[in-house]
């Protein structure tokens, strides 16, 4: 493999916490705290982790929908955060995102047909009279129908809205998609359909994904490499085979053990994480996971584990791995 398509280097994103009448900054939420990884062309990179650990923030910062605090994001070697407005706009069709919250990312006054097609028009990628045709095609691909074209977002069910979001991203024929929980609201059949679609597209067009999800089975199916995040940091990164067969970080282990199995007769033993979830504004010293780690020792409290290669491109940040 040559140069990676996306290179994230030491990315940080802090949100100020404000207080008082004059809204002074009293601290920072370290939503993303020094994360580095890269994604190759045609690869899908899975991102899993605790809710609120900064996955969506990473996704948005990569696409420069939010300003970074530190670090860099390179797309084909170009630093996205250094481009000017016009340059980044020109790149937009190539870099797409499926938002986590499908409803609030749709303008309530714009019919979904237009919402899906407008970017094509705006970038001059299509003729106005071909638009409807193209949108309908995409709707169909995403499990919606042409009769949905003229409806407003509020007339859709949660899953349907999610598919609108997917269609909106796919229609632009992008290189890279940040898919933020794209199938969470879909029933399994449609979920399967969408996932198949995504992997077909990947094969056909060498599409690259950053796939954020909580559903480990889906991640396993779709992604080749998976990163596990905890409290703003990457704690483990490995190919999916490695990760599922040989999880090294205790958090990853706990995660895997908690996946519900669709068989009411099986009751599985899962690793229960004890303790309060620490605040990203004031993360614990040493290893951020030590407050909840079943294996924690004294050194974990003081010494932050190095994020290192445990062999075979299996990165992990744990003293015991």
């Amino acid at each position: 493999m040559s140069e990676p398509l996306i290179q994230v280097e030491g990315l940080k994103k802090y949100f100020p916490i404000t207080g008082g009448v004059f809204q002074r900054t009293v601290g920072h939420v370290k939503a993303v705290d020094d994360v580095s990884f890269h994604i190759h062309k045609g690869e899908s990179f899975g991102l899993v982790g605790e809710s609120g650990c900064g996955k969506s923030t990473i996704g948005r910062t990569i696409l420069r929908l939010m300003d970074k605090t530190e670090g860099s994001v390179r797309y084909k070697g170009e630093d996205l955060h250094a481009l000017n407005k016009e340059q980044i706009r020109a790149l937009r069709p190539k870099l797409q995102i499926v938002f986590q919250d499908p409803f609030s990312s749709l303008n309530p006054r714009i019919k979904v047909g237009e919402a899906i097609g407008e970017a094509l028009l705006d970038h001059g990628l299509i003729d106005r009279n071909e638009l409807r045709q193209k949108v309908n095609e995409t709707l169909n691909i995403c499990g919606l129908s042409s009769y949905h074209y003229d409806r407003y977002p509020h007339e859709f069910s949660g899953g349907q809205r999610q598919r609108i979001g997917i269609a909106r991203a796919l229609i632009l024929n992008p290189d890279f998609i940040v898919a933020d929980e794209p199938v969470s609201a879909l029933d399994v059949s449609i979920q399967a359909q969408i996932i198949n679609l995504l992997s077909d597209l990947q094969q056909e067009r060498q599409l690259t994904y950053l796939f954020i999800s909580h559903d480990l089975s889906v991640v396993e199916h779709l992604c080749s490499r998976i990163g596990v995040m905890y409290l703003g940091s990457m704690v483990e990164l490995a190919s999916k085979e490695e990760l599922f067969s040989n999880p090294l970080h205790p958090y990853t282990k706990a995660l895997l053990s908690a996946v519900p199995i669709p068989d009411p007769t099986i009751k599985r033993q899962r690793i229960v994480l004890k303790g309060d979830i620490p605040s990203p504004a004031n993360p614990p010293s040493g290893c951020k996971f030590h407050t909840r780690c079943p294996m924690a020792e004294a050194r974990c409290k003081t010494e932050a584990p190095v994020y290192r290669d445990a062999g075979d491109q299996h990165f992990v940040a744990c003293h015991f791995a």
Partner: protein, 320 residues
Amino acid sequence: MKQYIIRRLLQLIPTLIGISIIVFAISAMVPGDYITAKQNPNMTAEKAQQLRHIYGLDKPEYQRYFIWAGNMLKGNMGDSLQHKQPVTKVISNYVWNSFIIAFFSLIFSWLIAIVAGVFSAKFQYSLFDKFVTLFIFLCMSLPSFFIGLLVIKIFALEWGILPVGGMTTAGVEAGSWDYMVDVLKHMFLPTLVLTMLSTGSLTRYFRTGMLEVIRQDYIRTARAKGLKERTVIFKHALRNALIPAITLLGFELPALFGGAMILEKVFVWPGVGQVYLESISMRDYPFMLGFTIFLAILTLLGNLLSDVLYGMADPRIRLK
């Protein structure tokens, strides 16, 4: 936020300078001056020349501007030509009279508008809504003096329960309890009309604002919590419909002190609006300029206030 406010306050300076230049230029371009406006049939040319010299009207415009602006900086607005008194004194003589009716009508109109607007929205197209709408448009379709005359006819002439105009009955001693009652009686009609006039547009804005908001998902959530409809509407919905209201609130600041020219005339209310109007038609420049700048400062502050309040009403707004 603090920074933002400081920056905005600093911006006031160039803005005010700009306003002062424009306003002065306007006053300089307006045809005629105090002397022509007086139309004194005995005025000889020499006398007119003399007066213009004393008033400083014979100097070139830019010089006059710098003299005036320099004095303004020192807090000296000059003497009103008509009143032969410092402009600040004249303003303070009249402005509080305008303020009290504006203040009460502000309170009443906002209260009424919120309630009427909210209910019109909640019961959109109901009989109540239609009635309110029609009433509002009725008030707006007639010039204000007209509504003034109407209430005078009814309350003062036909029923005889309220005075026609003025602020006090001639001869009532200031300071006594009777005086208070007397002033309240005199205030009633102008306040009523002012309220009627401003309630209309406010109600419309509240109504549309609410119409937008009450169909949002979070209103559904509030209902799902089993909250009283009152809470749902006045807390959850109204808060979200506040942005236009805040903008309008910012406009009220200059309005509080600006006086209502036409109504003051109809009700013989000793407010500053009429004095201002007269200063314009009499080309009493020191007063006209001074008061215009006074209102300009209030306008700027009002708008600043609403910008600051935006951030409080909606935490998502980031004005930096």
